[in-house]
């Protein structure tokens, strides 16, 4: 390979994509395969080290800008998961060392039919999830624009179905399996509503499927569903298409692996102990007290 400076014609692809650069450099630097892909910092680091000139790091590839709401959510998650110096907080039994938030790359909203049934088709592209990132939990994350008064409570009944393309028939996508659930929450207090769809998506992600096509139908009623069931209480809720949140355990060498701090023989009931939740404030008060007692 040419040892010249900057862009070298006869070393095409070095600047094509950081992962490619990492893969080619890793062949030279004997990095373990896949290290580049799993470590978002490695490719740019290698590129900076490779291009000694000041321009080396400026040729970053363009990145799509995320949704500002999603950015706000992830900044809060960061504050709850890491200290001001950026060091991961030790929360008892926390297993995830990676959280990825995806916004739909394609959505198709259907005109509301009879009543206020909203239906929307969403497509998520999960290419960024690497083979070494194992799914622990997946959540559909809603934020609401509602025209209802703040203090009331709303019940939404959602019907979620996964669509799979049946390539042999080349006709319409078939529905592989579906899920129905109801969400009851007070609009006033929450900015975000999380819907756990782990068991729903687990088989898909475990088989390395990277395109997830969902159809969502939902109706939202004002007040408590126990007392009134008719649609006369249907409320016009504009649902912002949800984002998809994946809590993952990255088993690559570069990822931080915290031992199970619960000690041998004791297991937490869920793979994620109290992951950061919406507006529940900073961290886990019980955790604070325990650490204070320890101190």
């Amino acid at each position: 390979r040419s040892r010249g400076r900057g862009d070298s014609e006869d070393a095409p692809g070095f600047l094509a994509a950081p992962e490619d650069a990492a893969r080619q450099l890793s062949a030279v630097l004997q990095l373990p395969q896949g290290a580049g892909a799993a470590h978002a910092l490695l490719p740019p680091l290698l590129r900076v080290l490779r291009d000694r000139g000041p321009r080396g790091w400026q040729s970053e590839e363009p990145r799509l800008q995320p949704d500002s709401r999603a950015l706000r959510y992830m900044k809060r998650l960061y504050r709850m998961s890491a200290t001001r110096d950026g060091i991961p907080k030790e929360q008892r039994g926390r297993l995830y060392n990676t959280v990825r938030l995806f916004t739909p790359c394609w959505e198709c909203e259907h005109r509301p039919g009879k009543g206020d049934v909203h239906s929307v088709d969403l497509l998520f592209n999960l290419d960024r999830v690497t083979a070494l990132e194992h799914l622990l939990k997946s959540v559909l994350l809603y934020s609401f624009d509602t025209s209802v008064p703040i203090s009331s409570s709303i019940t939404c009944i959602c019907h979620l179905s996964l669509k799979e393309y049946d390539f042999s028939s080349q006709v319409c996508p078939g529905i592989s399996h579906s899920l129905a659930f109801s969400l009851h929450f007070d609009v006033g207090k929450r900015k975000w509503v999380e819907m756990d769809v782990t068991s729903f998506l687990q088989p898909l992600i475990a088989t390395n499927r990277r395109n997830v096509h969902m159809a969502l139908n939902f109706t939202c009623l004002m007040g408590d569903p126990q007392r009134s069931t008719g649609l006369e209480n249907a409320v016009n809720v504009t649902l912002v298409p949800p984002s998809l949140l994946l809590y993952l355990n990255d088993t690559s060498e570069q990822a931080y692996h915290r031992g199970s701090s619960l000690g041998p023989g004791r297991k937490s009931s869920s793979p994620l102990v109290a992951p950061p939740k919406g507006d529940r404030g900073q961290g886990n008060p019980r955790g604070k007290r325990a650490s204070r007692q320890r101190r």
Binding site: A17, H39, A40, L41, P44, V48, W57, Q58, E60, E61, P62, R63, L64, Q65, P66, A70, L71, M74, K75, L77, Y78, S81, A82, R84, D85, G86, I87, P88, N97, T98, V99, R100, L101, F102, T103, C105, N125, D127, R128, D250, E253, Q254, A255, Y256, H257
Partner: protein, 128 residues
């Protein structure tokens, strides 16, 4: 005092003791803080704003003792450098322990990733 030579030249004792004293610029951890904007990475690294990787610098004493937690090999290497082959380098002052770093990044496809990376902040130094 029994040895008339040492009694006659107190400087010898001083010389002898000096080899056990800490070097003036002893091996230790130094603060270093950078901001990702210096690397023009702040467009895709959202948090943390600043990163303190720290670094180790300083001389390693010839007789190390327990302070550095260095293996015995470190003293053997000093011996090789001084008595057998000066082309063999003296022991170096290097990081001995690290702490992880959490990073929030915007991925090329617009998704957002929170990741925890191992060994990103030096927290202790050693000679070896």
């Amino acid at each position: 005092n029994k040895n008339p030579a040492s009694a006659a030249s107190p400087h010898n004792l001083g010389e002898y003791l000096k080899q056990f004293a800490s070097p003036q610029h002893e091996c230790e951890l130094h603060n270093f803080r950078l901001s990702f904007s210096q690397l023009h990475w702040d467009r895709w690294i959202i948090a943390p704003h600043r990163y303190s990787p720290q670094f180790c610098r300083g001389d390693c004493p010839r007789a190390l003792g327990h302070r550095y937690g260095s293996p015995v090999h470190t003293m053997v290497q000093t011996l090789i450098y001084e008595r057998l082959d000066p082309s063999v380098p003296r022991p170096s002052c290097v990081p001995a322990a690290y702490s992880p770093l959490s990073v929030l990044t915007i991925e090329p496809d617009g998704s957002i990733a929170y990741k925890e990376y191992e060994d990103m902040i030096a927290t202790k130094c050693t000679c070896r």
